[in-house]
C-alpha cells in the first residue's frame, strides 16, 4: 500500500488543464493509428502476426486515450492503480479460461472436439476415402477437409493441407 502522506502531483485543486495542442495531437495520433491498422490489416498479410499487430495498435490507441483524453497521466496514482487492476483481472479471466479451452482433453479423458465435429469429420473422411476414416485425429484435419471440398480436389491423396492448418498453428 502506498503511504498516504503524498501530495498531489500538481498543486491546487488537482485539476490539471490538459492543453489544447496535446488534445489535438492525441486525436491526430489516434486517427493515424486507425488508418494504420486498417491498412496493415487489409493490405498486408503477415500471417500469424496479423492479430498481434492489430492488437498492438489497438493497445497504442487505448494508451493515448487513457493518458491524455482521460488525463490519467496527470491524475492521482490511485486511479491508475484501479485501471491497472481492472485490466490485470481481465487478462487473468482470459488466460485462465484458455488454460482449459486451449488444452481440453489433454490427458485423454475428455474428447478434444465436440461430437458434432467428430461426426462431420468422419462423414467427410468416409466420403472422400472410405479407408481413411478414423485416421483424422485433430480438429484441424476435419476443417482442412471442409475447406477443400471433395469436388475441388480430385486427387484426395495429394491434398495440400499446410496452408489451411497454418492459422491453426498460430494459436
Amino acid at each position: 500500500m502506498a503511504h498516504d502522506a503524498h501530495a498531489h502531483a500538481d498543486g491546487d485543486h488537482g485539476h490539471h488543464i490538459i492543453p489544447m495542442p496535446v488534445l489535438l495531437k492525441t486525436f491526430g495520433g489516434l486517427i493515424f493509428l486507425t488508418i494504420l491498422t486498417v491498412l496493415t490489416a487489409t493490405q498486408l498479410d503477415l500471417g500469424a502476426f496479423n492479430v498481434p499487430l492489430a492488437l498492438a495498435i489497438a493497445c497504442g490507441k487505448a494508451t493515448l486515450v487513457i493518458m491524455f483524453f482521460m488525463g490519467l497521466k496527470y491524475d492521482n496514482r490511485v486511479n491508475t492503480l484501479t485501471l491497472v487492476l481492472g485490466i490485470l483481472f481481465v487478462l487473468i479471466f482470459i488466460s485462465f479460461t484458455l488454460f482449459d479451452t486451449a488444452f481440453r482433453g489433454d490427458i485423454g479423458n475428455v474428447d478434444t472436439i465436440p461430437q458434432e465435429d467428430r461426426t462431420r469429420m468422419e462423414e467427410t473422411l468416409q466420403q472422400r476415402d472410405p479407408g481413411r476414416a478414423g485416421l483424422a485425429t485433430s480438429p484441424a484435419d476435419s476443417l482442412a477437409l471442409e475447406q477443400n471440398p471433395l469436388e475441388e480436389t480430385p486427387a484426395p491423396a495429394e491434398e495440400p493441407a499446410p496452408e489451411t492448418t497454418e492459422p491453426e498453428a498460430a494459436h
Binding site: 483481472f89 485462465f96 488454460f99 482449459d100 479451452t101 465436440p114
Partner: protein, 572 residues
C-alpha cells in the same frame, strides 16, 4: 502496528471531550421519526439498519426453506413434498441465502453502520448512492420473489447450462434478480473503497485502520472486480435462452463448460465476498474480548488483500470433474492450496491474540470462539477437497455441502451473529440479555455441528448432493442431521426474540460497554449522533491499543456498563 503516542496532549484533550454532555437524547434513531425519513435517509447508519431488516427477513425465509429441505430428507422417499417441489425449495434456499442474505449481510448491515465511524468519517463518500444500492438490492429481491411466484425455478443456484437454458422461463426472473442485486453489491463496494481512501479522519493512517475496515476494503475490491462478470454471464444466459446464441448451449455448438468458467469466475470470488468481512469481525471480537493487541496486525490486514487477489485465481477447483483440461485442474489446485496459507495465518493469529490476554467470555466472544472451531474445520476440509484425486471422490457429494456450510454458516453467519451482538449496544443503545445470549450461542454451536458434521460422513460415504431421495443406508445420518437443524433453528429464533425484547425493554447501553478502542466506542454515544461525531476525531492511537485506553476514553479505560456487574471491581 501504529506507534503509540501517549503524550500527545492536545489530542488527548480533544479525545477526552465526552460527547454525551451535548444532547443526551438526540441521536440518529430519534432525530427524525417518520417512515419517509427512513426511506429517504442518506445516513449510513440508518441504511445499515434497513439492510439489517431486509437481510434478516431473507435469512428467515431461506432458513425456513432449509428446514423444509431437512424435513423432506427425514426419511427416504417422499416425506413432505414431491421431487419438483424439493428441487425448487433447495434452489430458492440457495439463491436467497447467497444473493439476498450472505453477500449483502455483513457489508450492507455492519459495514454500512460501522465502517464510516471506525475511520472517523461523517458518512460514506456517496450517501445517495448508498441509499440507491439498498433500493436496487430490494428491486433484485422483488424480482427473486416474482420468480418464486411464477414458480418452477429448479436449476440450483449455479444455473448450469444446458439445464438452465432449456428449462422453465422463470429462470429468467432469477437471473435478472441476480443481475440487479449485483449492481447493489458493486455500488456498495465502490462506496466503501472511496470512503476508505478519501474519508479517513486526520491521523487515521493505513496501519491504524481497524481490521474490520481492512477486511471490508478487500471485500469491496472483490465486489467491484467480480460482480460485473456475473452480470454479463446472466445476460449471456438470458440471450442463450431466448435467442440461442450458441455460446453455452451444446445443442447449438456451444460449450457448457465455458458457462461454468464464467459462473465461477464470479462465484468463487463471491465466496470471499461472503467470508472476508466475517474475518474482519472476528479480528475485532478476538482482540476486544482478550483486551490484547492483535497478533500480527500487518499479516492479518495484508492476508485479506492476498485472499482477495488469490480468490480470483482458483475458480476452476469447482470443475475438477467437469471435463476441463487437466492443465487447468492442476493449476487451479495448486493456487487453491496457496490461498489456504493466508487463511491459516489469520486463524493462528487470532488464537495467539488470546495469549496473555484477559479473555472475557461474553456472547460475542463465544461466537468468535465457535467461529474459530467451525471455520478451522471448514478451512481444513477446504484443503481436502482441493486435493485433485480426493476431490474426484468428494465432488458434488454432501461432503461439499458440509464444507461450504461450515465456511458460510459456521464462518460468516456465526461471525455476523458475533458482530451483531457486539455492535448491538451501539446500534440500538440497548443491552441484550447476556444469559440468554450465551445459551443461544451454545445451542447454535451444538445444533450446527449436529446438522452439518453428519453431512461430512454422508458425503465421504458417497451420498450425492441435491438428492430428493436417498438409499436406506443413509437414513440414520440424515435423521441426525435433521434433528440438528431443529436445535439450530431454536437457537436462532431465541436470538430473534431476545433481541426484539431488548429493543423495547433492554437496559440502556453505555457508550463503551466492552472497553474497545476503536472510534465508534471511544468517540461516539450509544446510539451515535446523526453526524456520528460532534468533532472530527484526531486519531493518535492504533485501533487495539488497550493499554492506552485511558488516554482515549474517560475513566480508567475498562469500558463502562456491562463490566460493572461482571465482578466486584478491584482495580488490579
Amino acid at each position: 502496528m501504529a506507534t503509540v503516542m501517549h503524550t500527545d496532549a492536545p489530542a488527548e484533550a480533544a479525545a477526552h471531550h465526552h460527547p454525551e454532555h451535548h444532547h443526551p437524547e438526540h441521536h440518529y434513531l430519534n432525530h427524525e421519526k417518520t417512515i419517509w425519513s427512513w426511506l429517504s435517509t442518506v445516513d449510513h447508519k440508518r441504511i445499515g439498519i434497513m439492510y439489517a431488516i431486509s437481510v434478516a427477513i431473507f435469512f428467515l425465509i431461506a432458513g425456513v426453506l432449509a428446514l423444509l429441505v431437512r424435513m423432506e430428507l427425514l426419511g427416504p422417499g417422499e416425506t413432505i413434498m414431491g421431487p419438483d417441489a424439493y428441487n425448487q425449495v433447495f434452489t430458492l434456499h440457495a439463491v436467497m441465502m447467497v444473493f439476498l442474505f450472505i453477500i449483502p449481510a455483513v457489508p450492507g448491515f455492519l459495514g454500512n453502520f460501522a465502517l464510516p465511524i471506525q475511520i472517523g468519517a461523517k458518512d460514506v463518500a456517496f450517501p445517495r448512492l448508498n441509499l440507491a444500492s439498498w433500493y436496487i438490492f430490494m428491486a433484485g429481491a422483488a424480482l427473486a420473489v416474482i420468480a418464486i411466484g411464477v414458480g418452477q425455478v429448479d436449476t440450483g443456484w449455479t444455473f448450469y447450462t444446458p439445464y438452465s437454458s432449456d428449462g422453465s422461463n422463470s429462470v429468467f426472473f432469477v437471473t435478472l434478480a441476480v443481475f440487479v442485486a449485483g449492481f447493489a453489491s458493486i455500488f456498495t463496494g465502490i462506496n466503501f473503497i472511496v470512503t476508505i481512501h478519501k474519508m479517513r479522519a486526520p491521523g487515521m493512517t493505513w496501519n491504524r485502520l481497524p481490521l474490520f475496515v481492512w477486511a471490508l476494503y478487500a471485500t469491496s475490491i472483490v465486489q467491484v472486480l467480480a460482480t460485473p462478470v456475473i452480470g454479463i454471464t446472466m445476460v449471456l444466459l438470458f440471450l442463450e435462452k431466448f435467442l440461442g446464441i450458441g455460446i453455452f448451449d451444446p445443442a447449438l455448438g456451444g460449450d457448457p463448460i465455458l458457462f461454468q468458467h464464467f459462473f465461477w469466475f464470479y462465484s468463487h470470488p463471491a465466496v470471499y465476498i461472503m467470508i472476508l468481512p466475517a474475518f474482519g469481525i472476528i479480528s475485532e471480537l478476538v482482540t476486544v474480548f482478550s483486551r490484547q493487541n492483535i497478533q500480527g496486525y500487518t499479516f492479518i490486514a495484508l492476508s485479506s488483500v492476498a485472499i482477495a487477489f488469490l480468490g480470483f485465481l482458483v475458480w476452476g477447483h469447482h470443475m475438477f470433474v467437469s471435463g476441463q483440461s487437466a492443465v487447468s485442474s492442476i493449476i487451479f489446485s495448486l493456487i487453491t492450496y496457496l490461498i489456504g496459507i493466508p487463511t491459516g495465518i489469520k486463524v493462528l493469529n487470532w488464537v495467539s491474540t488470546m495469549y496473555k490476554g484477559s479473555v472475557w467470555l461474553q456472547t460475542p466472544m463465544l461466537y468468535a470462539l465457535s467461529f474459530l472451531f467451525l471455520f478451522t474445520i471448514g478451512g481444513l476440509t477446504g484443503v481436502m477437497v482441493g486435493v485433485l484425486a480426493v476431490d474426484v471422490h468428494l465432488h458434488d457429494t454432501y461432503f461439499i455441502v458440509a464444507h461450504f456450510h461450515y465456511v458460510m454458516m459456521g464462518g460468516t453467519v456465526i461471525a455476523l451473529l458475533g458482530g451483531f451482538h457486539y455492535w448491538w449496544p451501539k446500534i440500538t443503545g440497548k443491552m441484550y440479555n447476556e444469559t440468554l445470549g450465551k445459551i443461544a450461542a451454545i445451542l447454535i454451536f451444538i445444533g450446527f455441528n449436529i446438522t452439518f458434521f453428519t453431512q461430512f460422513v454422508l458425503g465421504s460415504r458417497g451420498m450425492p448432493r441435491r438428492y430428493y431421495d436417498y438409499l436406506p443406508e443413509f437414513t440414520a445420518l440424515h435423521q441426525i442431521s435433521t434433528v440438528g437443524s431443529w436445535i439450530l433453528a431454536l437457537g436462532l429464533f431465541m436470538v430473534l426474540f431476545y433481541m426484539i425484547h431488548s429493543m423495547f425493554r433492554g437496559k440502556k447501553a453505555p457508550a463503551n460497554p466492552w472497553g474497545a478502542a476503536t472510534l465508534e466506542w471511544t468517540h461516539c454515544t450509544s446510539p451515535p449522533d446523526p453526524h456520528n461525531f460532534h468533532h472530527t476525531p484526531i486519531v493518535t492511537h492504533g485501533p487495539y491499543d488497550y493499554h492506552a485506553l485511558e488516554h482515549l476514553y474517560e475513566g480508567d479505560g475498562v469500558g463502562d456498563g456491562a463490566t460493572v456487574e461482571a465482578a466486584p471491581g478491584q482495580k488490579h
